[in-house]
Symmetry: C2
């Protein structure tokens, strides 16, 4: 008999020290797939989105309007959104890199967008070919126009804990960048540990700094990478601080930037296992999600880096 | 430039909510190797033990006196211990399954032994071919004789959170088994999540139950497996409860019971990364340890499942 049939993981009653409910922000179809080498047909992506919603995920980042030259995997964004079978109660945010991307998103009937900002000068220059000031000059009109059109706008803040050129990123700098995005109109921030170097102590300090800076914890999401194995411990620390939105990628998609190492996004299944144990509600059917990730693994021709997916597939 | 040269992970000052110092109980040479298929020559094992001590580990479980029929990998225990270059300040505990094993350990000059008990009737029957009562009948004279000889005796309690035949293991049962081992003379318990199904909530409840049962937290170690990705989050929860001894396996050795899945022991490197970030002292040189695990990977002909080892070898 499998561990699931035996009632594992044991579900503990909610103890009041954690949020009662967490929203899992599923990034697999966008952040996950954009880092996968195997080109995925639009029909497979549509089935993936359907299966994720069937499994109970209520926020599924669907695609990106970044230029196809940079992310060929998501060049089918228009077709995908045109054919997407939207569900009541499910949000399908879309990443937009600039005003041109926003135009495309608006034309596609998107109701929720996200911008991808950097907390560091170095990464802004590498990723956007511009510095931090130019980053805001580019995003401010995007955010303003999106909000005028009635859209919600998430602001990703990348490199919140460490940067591969600058090393340790000062907390104040991250808070400054985050507040600037909120002031520009963002409705939520996703604080990203892009290179996976955060520990629980760093997570606590950054969240404390945002709270002290007057930002509501409800407006903060966390986005952890498992490069050094810390993603779930960091998530636990964030939950203890009251964070109620956690980013994760079904099956740990996008977790293989180089070869077989499993160093990418926190796997949604591993997060669900933790939340189940902690008695925190999330609405996701773990077995349906695992089945979805196993199916997606077959499409990609490689095994999932999620520990839960692997263990339940053994 | 690598993340290590950039000063990552960031080391936070100790904040008083955690133990100031943790003893890492390195189980790689025993628990790790016994689950590896590739036979490792005794010279390699001796170099492994030397390298681990060089890296700053002060407790290195060296081998086991279990019958060679069950664990052929450790059939060289006598030769290993005869040739081991013991260091001041480093303990080399050895697992003993029964009185015959204790005799061999005493003859080999061992000063610290461990017994491996089960928290469940089912696992006791499977692993020891006896029930829980027979388990104690077997271990009690081993523990008593070892203590009489002046040895420290660790009691492993396996299946503390879930059992593959019984499912959820009642907390009271684990505490009963643990107390019985302490009453028999064990100087420390290692609470094992043998199948990796614990979550942070389960860890907290079990530790609370032991504390309420009058057991000193200083006498409790934790031993987590990463089968469902929870090992480090569970460790964080245990540290917050005041646990000061954490078991781990260099490079995640023993992590591949089936094929390529990384489902075994918590990797020492991933633990060290966490402790560094939290400002908890441990005395281990992470870079030397990673180098040791990379060397051991070459001996075994496979890559390490430790995320830190993989990331720093990229």
């Amino acid at each position: 008999m499998g561990v699931r049939e035996l009632g594992l993981p044991e579900r503990f009653p909610h103890d009041g020290s954690l949020p009662e409910r967490v929203t899992i922000w599923e990034v697999g179809p966008r952040d996950g797939l954009q880092n996968e080498r195997t080109t995925v047909p639009v029909d497979v992506k549509l089935e993936f989105l359907d299966r994720l919603a069937d499994a109970g995920l209520t926020t599924v980042e669907a695609t990106s309007f970044v230029h196809p030259k940079w992310v060929p995997q998501l060049a089918d964004a228009e077709e995908l959104l045109a054919r997407l079978r939207r569900r009541d109660g499910v949000r399908y945010p879309v990443l937009v890199p600039n005003e041109r991307g926003l135009d495309r998103a608006l034309a596609a009937g998107v109701t929720h967008v996200a911008v991808f900002a950097s907390a560091t000068e170095s990464f802004a220059r590498r990723n956007l070919n511009s510095g931090l000031d130019a980053q805001f000059a580019m995003f401010e009109p995007v955010i303003a126009r999106a909000r005028e059109a009635g859209l919600d706008v998430r602001g990703y803040v990348s490199m919140c804990f460490g940067d591969p050129w600058e090393g340790i990123v000062p907390t104040e700098q991250v808070v400054t960048v985050g507040r600037r995005l909120l002031d520009a109109g963002c409705t939520q921030l996703s604080l990203g540990d892009t290179i996976g170097v955060a520990t629980a102590a760093a997570v606590e300090r950054l969240l404390d700094a945002f709270i002290e800076g007057g930002v509501a914890i409800a407006d903060l999401a966390v986005h952890f990478h498992d490069t050094y194995g810390q993603a779930l411990a960091n998530t636990l620390a964030a939950l203890r601080k009251g964070v109620t939105t956690v980013d994760a990628s079904a099956g740990g998609l996008g977790g293989c930037p180089y070869a077989e190492s499993a160093t990418g996004n926190l796997a949604t299944e591993d997060l669900v296992w933790l939340l189940d144990g902690l008695g925190v509600e999330h609405g996701v059917d773990l077995d349906a999600l695992v089945e979805t990730s196993r199916w997606m693994s077959r499409q990609l021709g490689r095994s999932s880096p999620s520990r839960v997916v692997r263990a339940l597939s053994g």
